[in-house]
Assembly symmetry: C2
Homo-oligomer: 140 residues x 2
């Protein structure tokens, strides 16, 4: 596993209010890769995303009521096969698989694990967000 | 506010077990800037840190029992005066100040706010971790 992360996603109650906070409030600029229901901002070689919390909890397979933190950290891989390999590596290291890798509605392939303290990581292959040689993503 | 973040910090129950998970388990390498009680990893131009969850909750001023997510996102500024200015900007945008800026035990100056959904941000001036022109930190 390379030493990097790809996306920080914050679950939010109101996507429109949250977008307003980060854009008008803090002055950040939305990436054109944002979609209805999903806001994304370029931060260095990583992305910062906003997504409805309920949908994120369902995606991650942890009910909000069960203490889902509302934050996921994604590590994007270069090849589809790396998703399963990376989830296995994490599991061997003591992680809990929250969701086995599967094809996603957005055309990628991803799965989730939680680390020893319950922090949620997505391992994802996203053919629409290529990684450069350093592992950076650029959707600005 | 520049469009970037500086540090992702995960609160952990056992720092030694968490360090082992990320180093031996996932193969990441600790930064020499790590200290006893604080583990830090270089990820691109950002840092990924592990810190005892109880201490992090006290630092942030949210009791663990009150639903602290156990994650903080730090935005480091270039000049000490930028800390208060950035906290004010966030407050004007609707953020809640969790802790007013103050001198820290490690020789910096920082304060905390939560966004509209309770996600915790630290605004910090850290003279030991200079930012380059792009806002990147390098402690590798």
């Amino acid at each position: 596993m390379e030493q990097r992360l790809s996306v920080i996603t914050l679950g939010v109650e109101s996507l429109s209010k949250a977008k307003q906070f980060y854009t008008e409030g803090l002055g950040w600029k939305l990436s054109p890769n944002s979609q209805e229901g999903f806001a994304v901002f370029q931060i260095g070689g990583m992305l910062f995303a906003l997504y409805p919390k309920q949908a994120l909890a369902e995606e991650v397979n942890i009910p909000v009521a069960k203490g889902f933190s509302g934050i996921t950290l994604a590590y994007n891989v270069r090849r589809k096969a790396d998703v399963d390999a990376t989830l296995s590596l994490a599991q061997d290291a003591g992680a809990t698989i929250l969701k086995k890798a599967e094809a996603t509605f957005w055309g990628g392939y991803s799965g989730y694990f939680s680390d020893l303290d319950g922090h949620v990581f997505e391992i994802a292959w996203n053919p629409f967000w290529p990684l450069d040689e350093h592992g950076n993503i650029d959707v600005s």
